[in-house]
Every structure is written in structure tokens, then in C-alpha cells.
């Protein structure tokens, strides 16, 4: 496997690293994989997660690119007036353009953690070249089943009632504080309404994109069971092209080495769908009240 340091985009402002698989594994069947920044972290990803994923995928025959969006990591800021959200989509498209021009790729998988997942999704919605997504701790929406699983056990304990009263007061102030912060922080994570996401997700699936959605225990404020995913989008016809995994023991950034390896194994297993094997559906649920 070869790693190449690259710069591309307008004015070569975007910096990244390409993993080229060994010659005997290189294939023009598999899409190239591109990882997008998680939050403000550089292209190596949290605890070098993207480095590990790129190297593992390259060992399986995938060309991979991890790069820094404009203004993050090693990359220069964009020199246009695009708002941040639009700018990251353009950066991702420039990454795909670079791989297309340099290696001849016509199809891509985009992936990332948190905002990296969000931006992968947004780019996929706008660019037909995207045939797959690896969404780690992506958008999540509470469902009735979430509340039942979250609060049910707590209703039987006295202490949480008292703490809940205090939290209720703080919760009244929080939306106002967060709204104010969003007005000044271009990097704040915007989560669209579920109905809007469902419509866009359906369009992705209708063009036969394959998706891997992994949620961790770090998202437990919003997500707490693997079956919750399809309940979040009740009208979705996934056609068997979404694999959902819930790893409640893993923290949001996968700081534990064994959990990170578990994630790598998951991604590698899922990636075989691009070798012609069908993607499995989400795991059968154990008892899941509500949804």
C-alpha cells in the first residue's frame, strides 16, 4: 500500500492523503472512499480513526482519500463567499473531482463521524457519483420507543425525579442559548427536520446507494436502539440498502482501541457489498418497546 500526500482544489488549497491499494488488489470496480472531517479535527480523524480506516480499506483494495476541508487541519480557507455548509459540499466534490482526474474514478463512498457524516450525506444528496455512505453518529431523532427505553427504568427510581426538576429549569434556557450560539458559530451542527432528511434519504436509496449507519452510546441523548433508525423515518423504503449498527459500549469518538477495531471490522464487512455481495439488513432487535 502506498500513501501519497496531495493537495488539490482551487489554488491547491485542500490537503489530504491518498491510500493506494497494492497493485494486485487495485480494481476499477470498487468506488473510491473519501472521509470528511469530524468537527474541527484534522483529517487523521479522532484518535487517528480515519488513518486506520483508510489503511484497512486500502488493504482490501479500495483507494481512499482523507482530506481537510477549507479552514481545517492543513487546508487553507476557501477564498469564496460560500456559507460553511455549502463550502464543505464543494470541498467534497473537489475531492471527488481530484480522484476522478487522477485515478479515473466515477463512483465514490463518502464517510465520516458526526459532522463528517452529515456533510457526507449532504454531498451525496447533491452528487450522483456518490454510491455509498459511512455515517457514524449521524442525524438521530427521538422516537416514542426512545423515550420509553430512556425514561422507563428511571421512573422506578426516586433520585432521578428530583434531578429531573432541576434539569427542566435548565432545559428551558438551553434552546435560547443554543440558538444564540448558532448565530455566531459557523461550525455549529445543524440537524434538519426528520421529514426533510427522510425525503432526501429516500432519493439516495432510490438511486441504489448503499449506506452504513453506526450509532454509539455517545449519542444516547438521541438514539438508544438499532431498530430506532427505521422508526425515525417511518415512510422510508430502504430496499435492504441500509445497514444499521448500534454500539452502545462505544463512546462518540471511539477512544478505546478495541472499539475502534470493532468499527473497522464493521466497515470492512459492509464494504464487501461493493464486491457484489448484498448488504445485510439491520440486526434483528431484541425486546424493543415502542420503536
Amino acid at each position: 500500500m502506498i500513501e501519497r500526500a496531495v493537495s488539490f482544489g482551487s489554488g491547491h488549497a485542500l490537503v489530504g492523503v491518498v491510500n493506494e491499494p497494492p497493485g494486485d488488489l487495485s480494481s476499477d470496480v470498487r468506488p473510491a472512499v473519501v472521509f470528511l472531517n469530524a468537527g474541527l479535527l484534522n483529517r487523521a480523524g479522532p484518535h487517528r480513526m480515519y488513518v486506520t480506516l483508510c489503511r484497512a480499506l486500502a488493504a482490501e483494495g479500495f483507494h481512499c482519500l482523507r482530506f481537510d476541508h477549507g479552514g481545517l487541519g492543513d487546508s487553507d480557507r476557501r477564498n469564496d463567499d460560500l456559507p460553511y455548509a455549502a463550502g464543505v459540499v464543494e470541498d467534497a466534490r473537489e475531492a471527488m473531482d481530484y480522484l476522478a482526474e487522477t485515478y479515473g474514478f466515477e463512483s465514490f463512498v463518502l464517510g465520516g463521524l458526526c459532522s463528517g457524516a452529515d456533510h457526507s450525506f449532504l454531498t451525496a444528496c447533491e452528487d450522483q457519483r456518490v454510491v455509498g455512505g459511512i455515517f457514524l453518529d449521524w442525524y438521530a431523532y427521538r422516537t416514542p420507543g426512545y423515550y420509553l427505553r430512556h425514561y422507563g427504568p428511571r421512573m422506578l427510581r426516586f433520585g432521578p425525579w428530583l434531578r429531573g426538576v432541576g434539569r427542566a429549569f435548565r432545559r428551558i434556557r438551553r434552546p435560547l442559548k443554543e440558538a444564540a450560539q448558532r448565530q455566531v458559530d459557523p461550525y455549529a451542527r445543524e440537524i434538519p427536520a426528520a421529514a426533510e432528511v427522510e425525503g432526501r434519504l429516500q432519493a439516495l436509496l432510490d438511486r441504489e446507494a448503499q449506506l452504513l449507519c453506526v450509532y454509539t452510546g455517545g449519542q444516547d441523548a438521541l438514539f438508544n436502539h438499532s431498530t430506532q433508525f427505521l422508526k425515525m423515518f417511518p415512510g422510508l423504503n430502504d430496499g435492504g440498502r441500509i445497514r444499521v449498527r448500534y454500539l452502545p459500549w462505544a463512546e462518540h469518538t471511539f477512544p478505546i482501541v478495541a472499539h475502534r477495531q470493532e468499527l473497522v471490522d464493521l466497515v470492512l464487512e459492509w464494504s464487501r457489498v461493493f464486491s457484489g455481495e448484498p448488504a445485510a439488513k439491520e440486526e434483528p432487535a431484541s425486546f424493543s418497546p415502542g420503536g
Partner: protein, 255 residues
């Protein structure tokens, strides 16, 4: 700005070379980053520092040690010995790429420790700037363990942690750190040092005494900031350190 891989073919290191935007670049700057989670905390700041230095006319090179960032190897393949070799390779790359006549080495945290321990650099060294160096390895492990425990639970396994704050740690590095003390660590000879200390550094005075005793000229840059290197609440916060960066620019510019 030129991102590149350099060094040995089977153990490539990632680095970024910033060419000088004015002047002939006879005096270059080599930046040795921290490792582990501290690397992430300072990454953008280091990049911006390198850009600013290059704008002032200094060829600047920053790189990732083995097992960090985009360089080869897993985290547990890195140790002080390996990293000293990496730093020498980076200095050679900087010398060859820029044609410089002398370098200033800026080391941050464990990067500073490694920079201070290089026996001989491949080119004349104007000074080695140590920004909050790790001086007592045993207490450093204890602090990382404390932060890990506060965030993720007990990392202890069979007599020593195998991972800390997201990075695997090798028994070799653990042993090196356990043996690392201010009084016993080898020091680069016949080179001026600069201690760049925040309020986080507790042994600055002792370091100055040790360096003077070793025959190294030493000066100090002090800032009143705290970066929370050992604060469990600050593990995932980014550091931009404008005051320290300003002092570094002034010191290097005056050299």
C-alpha cells in the same frame, strides 16, 4: 505549502514544508509536535505558526512522529528512541529541501522532550525551544492515566496501561517514560535552549538549572496562560495559544 512523505521507504513520515515567502531562507525552523491526544489539540495552531513563520522568511517544516498523524505505524510503535530518529530525519529533510545554514527547533510537550534529547543534529542549531516539555515521565503517565480514568474508566492491565486517551502505548514507551527524569535525561550538547513555559509547567526553574549545569545557554519565554495539558475537562479542546505564538514569532524573528 508542500505536504510530503519523507524518510525511509518502509517507514515513511508525513511532513509539511512551508517555503519562505521572502528572503533566502538561510535560517529554517523545525517543529516537533506533541503525540497522542495533545497532537490533535495543537494541530491547527502549529499549522498557522508554520504559515506565519514562512511569511516572515523562515523555511519551516513540521512533521508527524511515527505512530501519530499521517505517518507510518500504529501508536504503539512509537517510543522516545524512535522519535529521536524521526526528528533527525526531519532535520535532514529540512536541510536538504531548504538549503538552510542553521535551524531553530521548536518542540511542544513530548516533542520538546525528544528535541532536547537528540544527541546530534545534522546541521547547526541556532536554539532548541522547549514549549512545556514533559520532564518527569512517571508523573506524565500518572496524569494521562488520571485523565483516562476520569473520561473512560480504568486503563490498567497487568501492571501498566496499554492505551491512554485514545492511543495505544507500548511497553517500551512506558518503560522509557518511567525512567525519564529531568536529572537523568540526556541533553543535546553545545546548543542554546529556550524555555517557553505556560502556567502549566511546574519544573521550569529546575530545567533551567539543569541546562546551565550542562553548559547550555538558556533563556526563558513565559506566558501567563494555562492550556490544561493535564486537565481531564480539556482533553478534547483545541489550543490556539495566541500569546505563546506571538512570543515564539518574536524570539525566532530576533535570532
Amino acid at each position: 505549502m508542500i505536504p510530503m512523505y519523507f524518510g525511509e521507504k518502509d517507514r515513511p513520515l508525513f511532513g509539511v514544508y512551508h517555503h519562505p515567502e521572502k528572503g533566502v531562507g538561510a535560517h529554517a525552523v523545525l517543529i516537533a509536535c506533541p503525540v497522542g491526544h495533545e497532537y490533535v489539540r495543537v494541530h491547527r495552531m502549529v499549522r498557522n505558526l508554520a504559515v506565519d513563520l514562512s511569511r516572515k522568511g523562515f523555511p519551516t517544516f513540521r512533521f508527524d512522529f511515527t505512530g501519530t498523524g499521517d505517518s507510518h505505524g500504529e501508536a504503539d510503535q512509537g517510543n522516545l528512541d524512535v522519535w529521536r530518529r524521526d526528528l533527525v530525519l526531519a532535520a535532514e529533510e529540512l536541510k536538504d529541501t531548504s538549503g538552510c545554514r542553521e535551524i531553530t527547533v521548536v518542540g511542544i510537550r513530548l516533542g520538546a522532550t525528544v528535541a532536547a534529547m537528540v544527541e546530534r543534529y545534522p546541521c547547526p542549531v541556532e536554539s532548541i525551544i522547549l514549549w512545556d516539555p514533559v520532564l518527569e515521565g512517571k508523573s506524565h503517565i500518572e496524569e494521562l492515566t488520571r485523565q483516562h480514568r476520569a473520561w473512560l474508566g480504568d486503563p490498567q492491565e497487568n501492571g501498566g496501561p496499554t492505551e491512554l486517551l485514545g492511543s495505544a502505548i507500548s511497553p517500551v514507551l512506558l518503560q522509557e517514560l518511567r525512567e525519564l527524569t529531568l536529572q537523568s535525561m540526556p541533553l543535546t550538547s553545545e546548543v542554546p535552549f529556550v524555555l517557553a513555559a505556560s502556567q502549566d509547567l511546574s519544573q521550569g526553574g529546575a530545567l533551567v538549572d539543569r541546562l546551565k549545569g550542562h553548559g547550555n545557554p538558556i533563556e526563558s519565554l513565559l506566558v501567563s496562560d494555562k492550556y490544561g495539558w493535564e486537565d481531564p475537562q480539556a482533553v478534547e479542546t483545541l489550543i490556539m495559544a495566541p500569546n505563546m505564538v506571538k512570543k515564539l514569532m518574536e524570539r525566532i524573528g530576533a535570532a
